[in-house]
Symmetry: C2
Subunit: 304 residues, 2 copies
């Protein structure tokens, strides 16, 4: 594909070992980028992926990823071991402990934006080192809307860089704990107010199974989480959420309040499918019709 | 008042010492019954209270409670110390530790339903020993709708009695942790399914700042929590929620899905006011107009 994507996304591409309450699985396709890009493809978006894989990244993973029509031109192939993550979920299936992180080729990742991506209007800067997020964003030509995901690690060890990239984006998404850590405030409205002062017009605070809150200077939107019947593996739910949201926006005609809300319901539905299987497995079995049904169901569940 | 109330409620009447992150307060009006009945009065309901106070229960408390037009005929006055509770909230202002419980006259509480309450159509059995809940319910004449609140203590030490009263009511409300403990299931939909098998037609699972979920055999309704700007004291929020809900229902013409949803939005708004002050203090400053405004605000925050 040499055509301009609707949205490009940067993030990690991993090989995961995941241990849950009931099941342990090894060598799963993981990292933020596969989840985010695949989720966006369900919105009908043309998605470009920016990341790096090592020499041990299975060909089958690339094939499965490719099936969703994601453009992988921005994925670099490097000699050396792929990024690997191993984690274990607590009994509550929410909190998790990282057992092992092996950065491999991800340690020297220097994202390079393919020429065809540069003028894409939508950008998702997935959770990677904030200097790299800034580095890759600078290669883009005046995107219309940039969303940024981050995590506690960068608040701990790279706060000045993180604040620099936050000032450059339209939307920051973090979870509630990270928002508190970033702002030193406890009340989530206070957190949002502080983050909005840092630059973004939107703050999306994710609360996992409890949904999310979208803040602007004028509005609060409460986004419900779909109460899933089966929770197999929460890995990737946040990335699926962010990716689906950006995919939806990139196909919408405007960025008004109603569009944002519709996009978040779509994202919430997509994330609920994600956790019903390990890795991207439930997304591989998913039809657009099933997504539309769940969005309608979620709307029905929240309508007064 | 000798006229039949719209709804009667049984529960504890306490004198509380509350320690929060920022402030410590002593000798506050507490217990489930003042919160629940006062909240119901905001729906315009005529409310009858069933409880017990000791000889040290301040006259001023009764006066303040009375101002909301609650009928206190069902409140027994006994010689001996009033029920007292002291608790301390964690830094997150959600989890709390009980520092001291002195049952006092509450230890021998035997609820007696005033004659004028017996044919009231709506009943809220607030959190007291389940045998007492059954005892007082048996004094009522075929109420139209009975809601039951309970807690982990009774699951631990009086499970057979609890299951007996659960089988008699239309709605059970517990928090998510209690639902898991009661059913041995983790997934909240599974919890709800199990509880619905025990008898109730409705299960309301409260999740504090994350809202609530109402389950029937056919439907799930996701109830948002209003994101408060100021959280002073969470004590009584759950009781306010349950009381407001029942007050609203008792003034509604039907019990259809839309009414239930409207009632839950009203309850959610009322609970959000409750936590903005200590004890019933914020409810004492509250106008019905302010409640209506917040309900509309909450509806706007959730509308797609």
């Amino acid at each position: 594909m040499t055509k301009r994507p609707d949205v490009w996304m940067v993030g990690s591409i991993g090989i995961d070992d995941v241990e849950t309450r009931d099941v342990s699985r090894t060598n799963l396709l993981g990292g933020s980028l596969p989840f985010a890009t695949i989720a966006a493809s369900f919105a009908g978006a043309k998605v470009g992926a920016v990341g790096v894989v090592g020499s041990d990244f299975p060909k089958t993973f690339e094939k499965r990823w490719n099936k969703f029509g994601i453009d992988l031109e921005g994925v670099q192939h490097k000699a050396g071991p792929n990024f690997r993550w191993a984690g274990k979920y607590d009994g509550n299936m929410i909190d998790r402990t990282t057992i092992r992180t092996e950065l491999g080729v991800f340690a020297d990742f220097m994202p390079l934006l393919p020429e065809s991506y540069r003028s894409a209007p939508y950008v998702l800067l997935g959770n990677i080192q904030p200097d790299l997020q800034l580095h890759v964003l600078k290669q883009a030509k005046r995107p219309k809307f940039v969303a940024l995901d981050s995590m506690n690690l960068w608040i701990d060890i790279a706060l000045p860089s993180l604040k620099k990239i936050i000032a450059e984006v339209d939307l920051l998404t973090v979870n509630d704990g990270e928002a508190r850590q970033l702002t030193g405030k406890w009340n989530l409205r206070d957190c949002a107010t502080e983050i909005l002062k840092m630059g973004p017009k939107y703050v999306l605070l994710k609360k996992g199974e409890h949904g999310a809150l979208l803040f602007t200077k004028k509005e609060v939107f409460i986004v419900p989480a779909y109460p899933v019947k089966t929770l197999k593996d929460p890995t990737g739910a946040g990335d699926t959420y962010a990716g689906a949201f950006m995919g939806y926006l990139s196909k919408a005609r405007s960025l008004n309040s109603r569009t944002m809300r519709k996009a978040l319901f779509f994202a919430s539905a997509m994330a609920s499918f994600c956790v019903e299987g390990f890795s991207i497995e439930s997304l591989e079995k998913l039809s657009k019709a099933a997504v539309a049904t769940r969005v309608r169901e979620l709307e029905k569940m929240t309508k007064v």
